[in-house]
């Protein structure tokens, strides 16, 4: 059996999905976490559950919302599971009615009953169930309470109750349904009532579907005819407004009979916090302060000491252990060098930054799970609006701090094509977690006293440049309409330890996976390029293939302060994955541990050149996976090439300004 999970944004669909299936999908406390359908196997190992993007109505506005309409029209589904936020029933039930009209068996899962109870909302489950004509199961998806009962209900193939005429839409709509029914033939398996109502509400996907059965002109005439009749009879502005009103009447009746409010709660804590954090003047400084604390923890208070411990472990016992093992087996010098100077140096050089990565991932999880993310979007809206975007575009950008790939995918939630493209092009300017180890290495060598501030400045530079470019692009090459910013502020919640750990671990695990696969492979390749040269094997590093390749580009980078072949070749490997820059440096500089590498870097770079190098790494090119995602999401070679060229140009200009400008001011 295939069951589709549907609900409003931020009602806990993904939490429920993770609980009901054995899979783990990304969870976050803001609207638009799920941008495409995800399929998981229910714990009975028989039925499939399909997680769909959150929607307020089936008539789509953005690309992620369109996924649901397309799914309902084109894919096979046996049952629908509608998840409702018990504290927001009034709004959530509009979608429920549309789902019930779809005509397939429906189960309802009433989530967040605990939150509703705290707010004094008491729901008579039995009554609600009988009025809706479907089974309603209360759950708390975050903790998993009630999920077992829901699983048992879901496995029953058909619901006992079957009441599909909940809303009386009047005789005009009834006539329209009958007319459309006349055109549909047996190939159509969808409910005519649902199709008609969706058509009249303006669902373009349903209109396209119906065009397969009737002439467009006939369809348009029918719609115009109903529009005129409804406007005349009921004094409404449009048919969709009329349908909305009818559903609202039913919802009022339903809630009057099944919900009681025990007390009017005082100003919720959420509102009290929001009065401070979303304030015009305080909003951005608070956001910057939170990021500062995050970087202090990552680089000063916790991350670096742990990283140093790991470094001494890898450069000490691990390396010695491997060397002993290799001499025991009597391996050749070539293999010994490959393992110690190539793999251990390259992979180990990246692995020492695990503590910093985990702290960053933990903070991102905290930001997502607490509900603060949506507030940041709201705070940023005032600035974003001035540059041709709106606050909603900032959410993909924040996701981009973790990894640019899901960030770009999250741009699907944005309504207008212009804003969507703009967000896709600018998200790579957000400093992803793969760039963090490079900063950690350089700030540890050059800016020991101001590590957090320097890294914060790079993140802020990425944000500021994306805003400036949004303004430039939207005034020149990307003119177009701007959408209205509407964001639902979810209530703050205390993140649960287990959820935070799971999210942190999932992201951290990915980093470890990458280290054991690509970074391993990259290290072998880089070592081989540094070991061989035009002169043969085991050549001097300066005469290796790597130095020949890097030497071609190095002169171009000289005005930026880092015109060495070492810097150039590490930047080249960074296109495949940014972490590879660190591996390359470890292998090139041929050092046993992080501290020695930092010491060596000090002799190669000035602090100003080091900052310029970090700026270049922040901006210079989206990695291969991000570039491919831009191409896949936009389906345009032109824009993909544009994103590479503009970022390279931008990186060169800004690094040039930083280095040459700094020198003019007497910095070194």
């Amino acid at each position: 059996m295939e069951i589709a999970l549907l609900g409003n944004p931020n009602t806990g669909k993904t939490s429920l999905f993770n609980n009901l299936t054995s899979s783990y999908e990304y969870v976050g406390n803001w609207s638009g976490v799920t941008v495409e359908k995800k399929v998981g196997l229910l714990k009975n190992k028989r039925d499939k559950l399909i997680d769909l993007p959150g929607i307020y109505t089936l008539s789509p506005l953005s690309k992620d919302e369109a996924v649901v309409s397309q799914f309902l029209l084109e894919d096979h589904v046996d049952k629908l599971l509608n998840i409702l936020d018990a504290s927001q029933l009034h709004r959530n039930l509009h979608l429920t009615i549309q789902i019930l009209e779809y005509g397939k068996p429906v189960d309802i899962c009433l989530n967040m009953v605990d939150v509703a109870k705290q707010r004094g909302i008491l729901i008579d489950i039995e009554k609600l169930s009988s009025l809706l004509g479907v089974k309603v199961t209360p759950v708390i998806a975050r903790s998993g309470k009630g999920c077992e009962q829901l699983s048992a209900t879901l496995s029953v193939s058909k619901d006992k109750y079957f009441n599909r005429n909940l809303v009386d839409y009047g005789k005009e709509i009834k006539e329209a349904i009958e007319k459309i029914q006349g055109f549909l033939h047996e190939n159509n398996s969808l409910s005519t009532k649902w199709l008609t109502l969706q058509l009249l509400e303006g669902n373009q996907y349903v209109k396209t579907y119906l065009k397969g059965y009737m002439e467009e002109e006939v369809l348009n005439n029918l719609m115009d005819d109903i529009e005129v009749k409804i406007k005349q009879s009921y004094k409404v502005k449009s048919v969709s407004q009329y349908i909305y009103r009818k559903r609202q009447e039913f919802i009022d009746h339903l809630l009057n009979n099944s919900v009681t409010r025990t007390h009017q709660s005082n100003i919720p804590l959420t509102d009290k916090i929001d009065r401070i954090v979303t304030k015009r003047i305080l909003g951005i400084p608070i956001f910057l302060f939170m990021m500062y604390i995050m970087f202090m923890l990552t680089f000063d208070w916790l991350g670096t000491p742990l990283s140093d411990l790991l470094d001494s472990l890898i450069s000490g016992p691990v390396t010695i252990g491997f060397e002993r093992l290799l001499s025991f087996f009597g391996v050749s010098v070539f293999i010994r060098d490959l393992i110690v100077d190539g793999i251990i140096a390259g992979v180990g050089g990246v692995l020492v930054f695990i503590p910093q990565m985990f702290i960053l991932f933990f903070f991102i999880a905290l930001l997502e799970d607490s509900g603060y993310m949506a507030r940041v979007a709201l705070v940023m809206d005032r600035i974003m609006d001035k540059v041709g975007l709106n606050g909603k575009a900032f959410i993909p950008m924040i996701i981009g701090f973790g990894c640019n790939v899901p960030g770009i995918m999250a741009a699907r939630t944005i309504e207008t094509p212009k804003e969507r493209l703009l967000t896709t092009l600018l998200t790579p300017l957000m400093s992803c977690s793969a760039r963090l180890p490079i900063y950690a290495l350089f700030v540890g060598a050059f800016f020991i006293k101001n590590k957090a501030i320097v890294v914060l400045s790079l993140y802020v530079l990425g944000i500021v440049l994306s805003l400036v470019l949004a303004r430039v692009f939207s005034k020149t090459i990307l003119k177009g309409e701007t959408s209205l910013f509407v964001i639902e502020l979810p209530p703050y919640r205390l993140p649960q330890g287990q959820a935070l750990w799971k999210s942190t671990w999932e992201k951290g695990k990915g980093f470890l996976r990458k280290a054991s696969t690509f970074i391993f492979a990259g290290s072998v390749l880089i070592w081989l390029l540094s070991y061989t040269g035009p002169g043969g094997l085991n050549v001097e590093m300066d005469k290796s293939f790597l130095s020949v390749i890097g030497g071609v580009i190095a002169p171009i980078l000289a005005p930026l302060g880092f015109g060495s072949w070492q810097a150039a070749s590490s930047l080249l490997t960074g296109f495949l994955a940014k972490e590879a820059i660190i591996s390359t440096m470890n292998i090139i500089y041929f050092v046993p541990d992080e501290a020695t590498l930092q010491g060596l870097l000090v002799s190669q770079y000035t602090p100003l050149a080091a900052y310029s190098f970090m700026v270049f790494i922040l901006l210079y090119i989206p990695c291969l996976a991000t570039t491919a995602t831009i191409y896949k999401e936009r389906g345009s070679k032109k824009w993909t090439i544009f994103s590479i060229i503009y970022s390279l140009t931008l990186a060169y200009i800004i690094s040039f300004l930083v280095y040459q400008g700094g020198r003019m001011f007497g910095l070194a």
Partner: protein, 50 residues
């Protein structure tokens, strides 16, 4: 000597496989660290909606 050959083959074989796999997966829009992947659904949507 035999140990060197065996270790060499294993390392270069695995590295070659991991490298090609990374490039192939990246080209598909999949980030090897965060598991995120652009699905076929998205590419078909992008064509329709842009």
């Amino acid at each position: 000597m035999i140990a060197s050959i065996v270790i060499g083959i294993v390392i270069f074989g695995y590295a070659g496989w991991a490298f090609i796999r990374h490039v192939k997966k990246s080209k598909e829009g999949k980030c090897s660290s965060c598991r995120e992947e652009t699905s076929n659904t998205s590419s078909c949507c992008s064509g329709k909606n842009n």
